[in-house]
Subunit: 211 residues, 2 copies
Amino acid sequence: MIQDLTDNYAHLFEKELLNEINQVGTFKDIPEGHKMIEIGEYVRSMPLLVSGAIKILREDDDGDELLLYFLEKGDTCAMTLTCCLGQTKSEIRAIAETDAKLIMIPIEKMEEWSAKYKSWRNFVFESYHNRLNELLETIDSIAFLKMDERLLKYLKEKARISRDNIVNNTHQEIAYELHTSRVVISRLLKKLENLGKVELHRNHIVITNIN
Amino acid sequence: MIQDLTDNYAHLFEKELLNEINQVGTFKDIPEGHKMIEIGEYVRSMPLLVSGAIKILREDDDGDELLLYFLEKGDTCAMTLTCCLGQTKSEIRAIAETDAKLIMIPIEKMEEWSAKYKSWRNFVFESYHNRLNELLETIDSIAFLKMDERLLKYLKEKARISRDNIVNNTHQEIAYELHTSRVVISRLLKKLENLGKVELHRNHIVITNIN
DNA sequence: AGCTATAAGTAACAACTGTTACATTATTCA
DNA sequence: TGAATAATGTAACAGTTGTTACTTATAGCT
């Protein structure tokens, strides 16, 4: 675990804090698709993401989903932070987008380290900052873009995360995450294919032109 | 200023911190409509809202606006927090929705107080928490609601803030904040009037049925 | 190979939202 | 008062998105 810490967080935290993390943190391996947090749950520890990607989803009263953003290496879940600190229920669902490794920190340490380590405070503030900006990005997409632009942006983001320009999702799955219907996605994807931007296959889409 | 501090923040902060705020904070009176923060600006001090309401707006590349949420008594601007700490440009615009009073705290104190006072850290964390939840609410509205429902929600929120069930805006202004067109708003307002939910007048709307 | 389940393609239509154009009403101010 | 300006009402139409229904294609499995 020392190695993972060093690789990902050493530049952020002072040595003493790294040692503490190493002592009280527990390492976790999460398989792709695993549901890590469900809406309404209480969260008892804070994850530091070491590798992989986590997708964060919102749901409305009818059970309709919406993808908010992805967490990646070096990120932590600001929503979890607020849940831990405020002892409130989770407002979001977290699912492993890829296999992921993370370090879990018991919530008791949060307050202690915030008082003790400037680097920890900065990390927490920075996390909030990043998450606010992600949410603003999401709002921009929903409010200002049409569905075809949102779809393209979504595909590029997915391709970036999988690192091979392939999106391993069915049209139905994409429709869920963008909160629209399968037929709409199929229609728009076909247009994108005609424009030479993607190649459509069963269960996956190849992004041919990343720009 | 002591009085304002006591009324609004005394239950949050320890005595020593209140004294410090009183020493370094400067009191500001803001008239309705005043633009407090513009997108792209650097922010050099942090506002504690004592009375009134501030509206927080997002803008896209074409200059189209969208209302994100309102700040009210006891709130601070989490966006400003991140700007101050990270020395980054503002992602949002802030305009006084009503006359407002606030206390400005120089950013240098942020780090110092975060180390020194638990109550300050809690306040900052709580602010982030609240702002994240406001943004989630905003996302819910845009993503899951149709325009008529968004409009009704908007009117109720405005009425709550003005405390007299009157929304002092033109259809055009409402259209800007919801990022749609004047004609759409006029059309939907007329429907709401026919349903007995509002009374339409020139330059203002009376909410007759708050439920 | 042939059956089954799942994924994707497509047409037709409905609903909602956005746009243009113009009429009507209210307010301001010279 | 009367002209100019701003706000609202309304119709007609266009574009986008959502829905239904059905067809076709593909992968997995016996």
